[in-house]
């Protein structure tokens, strides 16, 4: 059993030590807002916050997590910055198919929590998640909207 701390709650997980956090979230805990896209940390669909850092959960083995504070998209409403990010996403009508957007929102929230007024370079560095619908310009616009609010 491995104890992890997700969205403010403790969970005992029975899984192999190398099981990626992504699959623990999705298949064990049923937190399917975090998406599987590539499994090799290329696309960012699986982004969660671990101790406030945007992290690609497909590359985080269960036994590496320890007592870290994991936040997923399901807890986005519990975060003041996260709520603003969601409102900006709605205002700018960012999502199309929407599949990457949980990860985009988590990456943007982590960025804005650390850097409330990011430069264009900060946005470029932080927002490397792939979007096959090409919503990149709206993602950036929504982040600027939060930064300038």
């Amino acid at each position: 059993m491995t104890r992890i701390h997700v969205n403010g709650r403790d969970y005992e997980i029975a899984a192999e030590a190398d099981t990626p956090l992504l699959w623990v979230l999705r298949d064990t805990l049923g937190l399917t807002g975090t998406k599987y896209g590539c499994g090799i940390a290329q696309c960012g669909a699986c982004t969660v916050m671990i101790d406030g850092q945007a992290t690609r959960s497909c590359q985080v083995p269960l036994d590496s997590i320890g007592s870290a504070d994991i936040r997923t998209i399901e807890a986005i409403d519990q975060d003041a910055v996260g709520r603003k990010v969601v409102e900006a996403w709605v205002t700018d009508q960012v999502p199309q198919c929407g599949y990457c957007q949980s990860g985009q929102v988590m990456a943007a929230t982590a960025l804005l929590k650390q850097t409330p007024h990011p430069s264009e370079a900060d946005i470029a560095d932080a927002m490397t998640n792939l979007c096959r619908c090409g919503t990149y310009n709206r993602v950036a616009a929504a982040i600027r909207r939060v930064a300038h609010a």
Partner: protein
């Protein structure tokens, strides 16, 4: 186990009522030409049907489409599947306009299989940029019929005449007595009434919802992780399945050397052999995947050489060479004037060969499917798909149940771009059925991204040879094209039998608006051994690049500016002229360059395209940075004739532009030694934020018949970019992607 079934359109026919199949005036109304996603060529296959469940007239039975709750909520069962294109919102606007319910109060979900939903001339599919334009009238009429039924029910309830009643956003109102009744209170009685034959539609001048940039219904759910896709669904007692497909398509598992060791791995239920694959079922997907990737499989030998199967030495370079070398005589896709005479009198002749690679869809949601055999003998499926009745009919055969015993759920798609039509072994649902049967448990099959790169059906690698004759003034007087290859309509809908041209192979090369009097367009069918697909904008995705790229070569050869040449060739085409002038204005006036700008020299290219009943004009601005093409701006003037939601149209054009640019710059799925060389997004790069240009979209409503929206923004991107690169470097790139071209700094 039985082999995976190939698509069989005849199997779906009994499920579709036999009516309105070939209706020329309807085709004309939809603005369909031979170059569109041509149901006119697709549909004769249906004409042979003798009888069908013809009792239902698609799109008319109100209760099949609308569920109005007592709490006054409105659920719309849509003939279409939502995959990012915004169709759910658009339909809510169209139905809501006539029903008199604000679109934001609609819940929209994809309807189950059934004859009511075959509203596309007796067919049902989500694709071809057809959804809105094919259903606009039907959905308006449906909303108006429902409103009329609600009014009639209210008249009975209130004991007044119907003509004294009006409606107000979900209420029937009797002004005389100041009474209001919710639709919810009336729904049960209303939906039992017979729809009137002729209901009046709203005067478009009074539209409140149609033509407005209304917010999408799904944006908040998609911004908070609450949207549910196929991959997110779960069934009680289900097993997870992971797959290892044969490395070479068409080979089979012969021997598994470590089967018992793998069967003993944690959580593993069983090891399975499937057609062209091995599978592991387990109590979690990660365990299933680890186990299936541990299997040591000996696969049967691929045939040695040739193009009739994926051979051991099959390669992209090999098939391109074969397409180029083909000397087969072709079918005429278009012919006009006296081409031979024009070439005999030419002052100058221009020739070029263009090609484009295989492409993966790369939708971000990897394919999955769930199957469960229920105690009552039904087979229940949760399957990403663009054509429910067809999947239902295939599932019935694979599961050995009657089609009407297949319950098919069509979940929201995490991107599709053509990925989720039925492509033989390229969809996982048949595996889910076979595994559910074998394990007697519900099964969810999920393909890893690597398996998806192995099995995705591909945009076909394509080739065309061009030749143009110029007069002494540098004006093209004749053009010849020879296209050798295969399109997905021919492959999957069998319409090229009997020597018909596959429109999906030549669209974008024929029916051009330019005044070039002498034309000869020839098509040679050359079948690919690999699984080919519809891919956003289909034949236009490469052919408009070929044609518009070559047109710039003609301009250069004739000493003409490419924009001015297009203006001259479109002298009698006001719709196209307007778009060209619009896109030029949007970009601050046409200038080809090169010119100095921030960060170095830039240049611009222009391209037109006429995909799916819409018209586009595109200008791209590029520079070279360390030999790589950097696109700074894309300006797109887009004329879909008439519109429903300008905000969604703008988003769709932006999205199509991004995908078009991704393909133009980066994408190439390469075959070598019978195997695909790309495995994931690390070796198949797609457009990232760092390469995303500014995209400027302007909608021009010409009032022409409504055209498509989801795909048409794409085809103009590659040629505009390539033409800009030519302006910058003097070199016309005739093969995509640009990333492989060695461009000087």
């Amino acid at each position: 186990m039985n082999a995976l079934l190939k698509i069989d359109l005849s199997a779906v026919m009994p499920l579709i009522p036999d009516r309105g199949v070939t209706n020329l005036s309807r085709r004309r109304l939809l603005g369909l030409g031979a170059g569109a996603f041509v149901l006119g060529t697709l549909l004769p296959a249906f004409g042979a049907r003798a009888q069908a469940a013809a009792a239902v007239k698609p799109g008319t039975r109100v209760p099949a489409f609308l569920v109005i709750g007592q709490d006054n909520t409105v659920k719309l069962l849509s003939p279409f599947v939502e995959g990012g294109q915004g169709i759910n919102t658009g339909l809510a606007q169209i139905v809501g306009e006539e029903l008199d319910v604000h679109p934001s109060r609609f819940e929209v979900e994809c309807a189950p299989p059934g004859p009511d939903y075959a509203i596309l001339n007796g067919l049902r599919l989500t694709g071809g940029s057809f959804s809105t334009r094919s259903s606009y009238e039907v959905m308006r009429r449906l909303g108006a019929s429902a409103r009329d039924m609600l009014i009639r029910a209210a008249a009975a309830k209130l004991s007044v005449t119907a003509d004294t009643l009006t409606t107000d956003d979900g209420y029937v109102v009797h002004a005389g007595s100041n009474r209001r009744v919710t639709y919810g209170e009336l729904a049960e009685q209303a939906l039992a009434l017979t729809p009137a034959e002729n209901v009046a539609l709203r005067d478009p001048a009074t539209f409140r919802y149609i033509r407005q940039p209304m917010a999408r219904l799904d944006v908040r759910a998609k911004s908070t992780g609450k949207a549910v896709y196929a991959i997110d669904q779960k069934l009680d007692g289900m097993l997870y399945a992971a797959i290892q497909h044969a490395p070479v398509l068409g080979t089979e598992p012969e021997r598994v050397s470590n089967e018992s060791a793998v069967a003993a791995m944690p959580g593993v239920h069983a090891v399975h052999r499937l057609p062209g694959a091995v599978a592991v079922t387990a109590d979690s997907w990660y365990r299933a995947r680890k186990a299936v990737e541990t299997l040591e499989v000996t696969w049967s030998k691929a045939p040695a050489t040739g193009f009739d199967a994926v051979a051991a030495d099959y390669s992209s370079t090999g098939i391109l060479a074969a397409l180029k070398a083909s000397d087969a005589s072709g079918l005429s896709a278009e012919k006009d004037g006296d081409v031979a005479a024009a070439f005999a009198n030419a002052a100058k002749i221009v020739e070029a060969e263009y090609d484009a690679p295989y492409l993966a869809h790369g939708q971000l949601e990897p394919p999955s499917s769930m199957a469960r055999f229920n105690a009552d003998g039904t087979l229940e499926l949760f399957v990403p798909n663009q054509m429910p009745e067809l999947f239902q009919s295939i599932a019935a055969k694979v599961g050995d149940v009657a089609p009407d015993r297949v319950i098919l759920h069509s979940p929201m798609l995490g991107g599709f771009f053509g990925r989720h039509f039925a492509y033989g072994s390229s969809n996982p649902f048949q595996q889910a059925i076979l595994l559910a049967k074998a394990t007697k448990r519900p099964v969810k099959v999920l393909w890893s991204r690597e398996e998806e790169f192995k099995m995705d059906a591909l945009r076909p690698l394509s080739f065309s040879r061009f030749k143009a004759a110029l007069d002494k003034d540098g004006i093209p007087i004749a053009i010849k094209v020879r296209t050798v290859g295969e399109g997905p309509i021919g492959r999957w809908f069998g319409v090229t039998a009997g020597g018909k041209v596959d429109s999906s192979a030549v669209e974008g090369l024929v029916e051009k608006p330019y005044a070039i009097a002498n034309r000869s367009m020839e098509y040679v069918k050359f079948a690919h051994p690999v699984t080919i697909a519809f891919w956003r904008s289909v034949g236009h995705s490469m052919n408009d690049y070929f044609y518009e790229g070559f047109l710039d070569e003609i301009a250069d050869a004739g000493g003409k500016d490419p924009y001015q040449l297009r203006l001259a060739l479109l002298e009698n085409k006001p719709r196209h002229l307007k778009l060209l002038e619009t896109v030029a204005r949007m970009s601050g006036g046409w200038k080809r360059g090169p010119y100095e700008a921030e960060g170095g020299k830039r240049a611009r290219g222009v391209a037109l395209a006429s995909p799916f009943g819409s018209e586009t004009a595109t200008i791209a601005e590029v520079s070279l940075q360390k030999g790589e093409v950097r696109v700074h701006n894309l300006w797109i003037a887009f004329d879909p004739g008439s519109i429903v939601n300008p905000a969604i149209i703008t988003s769709q054009v932006e999205s199509a532009a991004a995908l078009g640019l991704s393909a133009a710059l980066f994408e190439e799925l390469v075959y070598k030694d019978g195997r695909r060389q790309q495995h994931n997004f690390d070796d198949y790069p797609i457009l990232s934020r760092s390469a995303m240009p500014s995209v400027h979209v302007e909608i021009v409503e010409s009032g022409a018949p409504m055209g498509g929206v989801g795909e048409p923004g794409l085809p103009g991107i590659a040629p505009a970019v390539v033409n800009a690169v030519a302006a910058l470097t003097g070199r016309h790139v005739r093969s995509l992607p640009l990333a492989k071209a060695k461009l000087g700094v």
